[in-house]
């Protein structure tokens, strides 16, 4: 069976949110929402699971922390002990204050870059990747809600279109995949 995709366009995020709420309450599954900015509170309405990016951030941060500690221990203590300001240069622990800023910065660096790259990879939005949003205007001032007939077995395409039209849309578009 051909999968029919309905794209409903809104010009206000609150209207879209209310629309999604009423559709979901009728048992419709909203498969995706495209928006130029994050819409607060849309995730629980359309049933998006909590992001796991935070767990990855922790792991990346831990990696940075370990790398920085091991690196500095080797550079500054083992390989070539340097006497800076008369501070003890033969133990890491007694000198730990001097190493904390770098440890902190490297932790942040690894966590931030790791998160950014993971995010781009996971969303398939690395630079150069083809865009998969249905309408370029969703990067400007329009909001699009996507419904798929394959995910809404209880409704026909016409029923879905009719319900969507009641939610304050400004445009509607259909596509068969």
């Amino acid at each position: 069976m051909a999968d029919k995709v309905i794209y409903a366009m809104y010009d206000d995020d609150d209207v879209l949110k209310d629309g999604a709420k009423s559709l979901v309450s009728k048992g419709v599954k909203v498969s995706e929402v495209f928006s130029p900015f994050p819409i607060h509170g849309i995730d629980p309405i359309i049933g998006v699971k909590n992001t796991r990016l935070g767990i990855m951030a922790f792991i990346y941060g831990l990696t940075g922390l370990t790398l920085a500690t091991v690196g500095m221990q080797y550079f500054m203590i083992i390989d070539w002990p340097m006497n800076i300001g008369g501070k003890p240069n033969f133990t890491y622990l007694e000198n730990i204050l001097a190493f904390i800023p770098i440890t902190f910065e490297f932790t942040v660096l690894c966590a931030a870059h790791g998160m950014a790259i993971t995010y781009l990879l996971r969303n398939k939005t690395l630079p150069g990747m083809p865009a998969d949003n249905p309408d370029p205007r969703t990067t400007d001032d329009k909001f699009v809600m996507e419904l798929r007939t394959s995910e809404n077995a209880n409704f026909s395409a016409d029923e879905l279109t009719k319900m969507v039209k009641d939610t304050g849309i400004v445009e509607i578009d259909e596509k068969v995949i």
Binding site: H40, G86, L97, A98, I100
Partner: protein
């Protein structure tokens, strides 16, 4: 909805005040006549008045900050912030009383620069470093500054409160924009005075020592303590069925403030400590040598608690929305910041003779009881939700 103080809260605050007075009297009776007792009593008074004064000042600052940034989310908790800021006249009164007592005793070994023995050439105690600072640190100029700070804080508070109550009656945006301008003006004053007042009242105790970072350090300690007090108060009010429009998103926001400002405080504490440790210049290290020699365990435990507790426990989103966890962490870091304030005052004045006993705890309990009572009384004086705040609707729908 009008707020009424429950009888239980009335009894509790009265009991707290009585216990505080009894503890203080026991402390005085046990130690009176001791060699350092006069100084110890005033150190305890100053540290406690300062800590509680800062809670009111922090609320005033937070109010001004939200006006100046035109925040929307805070509208439904605005009256709670005002309730805490309403402690300010009391805080000012206690600060001025203690400062008068200290000035009357030539500094009472707390502000030793007030004692002319240190600044008179030829005297046995003559100290050229203190004498060199006497153009700034002298009794007259100190009092002029103190009174100017207090007067400006007080006037801003009176103005904010008056316009807030008027807004309830007339509505419109004219008062809102006036508050916006006044809030911005307050921040400009506060940017300078939060530092200089911390130098005058606290840093001048360690009179040989100086740190340009000190003002921000005390300021961030003040801010985080205020946020904790606001959280505890809002949780208490919600538990008793008030503030129906404050939802877990508002609590989450306050939790995020506590989390973030705890980091700011730790960052500033560490920056001050690390730079001084690294440079290792005798005139700078005195402050920490004093703390390490006399309060090593207390001082570093205080830092670890104030840093690690909010970081590890409040990191996750769910923890910041859980009232039990917030109350637990809040009470602990509030105690931590009280110890911080105490050590700031006691370290440079009493040094090895300092100890936290009946007098110190008693005064803290006494002021805590009075503080809670005053704040709750302030809450009864106005509707708990500012009905005509232009962002009230945004605050009610606040979610993320």
């Amino acid at each position: 909805m009008e707020f009424k103080i429950a009888n239980k809260a009335k009894t509790l605050t009265t009991v707290l005040m009585i216990v505080g007075v009894v503890f203080t009297i026991i402390g005085v009776a046990l130690n009176v006549g001791g060699h350092h007792f006069g100084t110890r009593f005033l150190v305890s008074s100053l540290a406690n008045s300062y800590f509680f004064f800062l809670l009111g000042l922090g609320a005033l600052f937070f109010l001004a900050l939200n006006y100046a940034t035109e925040s929307g989310w805070y509208a439904s908790i605005k009256r709670v912030i005002e309730g805490v800021a309403g402690w300010l006249p009391w805080g000012i009164a206690f600060m001025i009383l203690v400062l008068i007592a200290i000035s009357a005793m030539d500094g009472a070994h707390i502000y030793i620069w007030m004692d002319s023995a240190y600044t008179t050439e030829g005297s046995a105690h003559y100290d050229p470093i203190i004498d060199g600072k006497s153009a700034y640190l002298n009794l007259l100029f100190f009092w002029i500054r103190t009174l100017v700070y207090m007067a400006i804080y007080y006037l801003f508070w009176i103005g904010f409160r008056k316009r807030s109550l008027e807004e309830d009656k007339v509505g419109g945006t004219e008062l809102h924009f006036k508050n916006y301008r006044r809030g911005a003006l307050f921040l400009v004053f506060f940017a300078v005075f939060s530092s200089t007042s911390a130098w005058d009242w606290i840093m001048s105790i360690d009179v040989h020592w100086f740190s340009t970072l000190f003002g921000w350090y005390t300021f961030s300690g003040m801010w985080v303590s205020t946020m904790v007090v606001l959280i505890l108060l809002i949780i208490h009010l919600k538990k008793h069925g008030y503030l129906p429009r404050v939802n877990e998103n508002h609590i989450h926001d306050l939790g995020k403030w506590t989390f973030a400002i705890s980091f700011l405080w730790s960052y500033l504490w560490f920056s001050q400590f690390m730079l001084i440790w690294y440079a290792n210049i005798p005139e700078e290290t005195t402050y920490f040598i004093n703390r390490i020699e006399n309060f090593q365990i207390l001082y570093f435990t205080m830092f670890v608690i104030n840093f690690a507790f909010p970081m590890l426990i409040l990191m996750s989103r769910d923890a910041k929305r859980n009232t039990g966890i917030l109350t637990f962490v809040g009470l602990i870091i509030l105690a931590g910041h009280w110890v911080d304030a105490y050590l700031m005052v006691a370290g440079g004045s009493l040094g090895a003779n300092a100890c936290i006993g009946f007098v110190e705890i008693g005064m803290a309990i006494l002021l805590a009881g009075l503080f809670i009572r005053v704040v709750l009384t302030n809450l009864t004086k106005a509707p708990l939700t500012p009905v005509n705040h232009p962002f009230l609707d945004e605050s009610i729908h606040h979610e993320f």
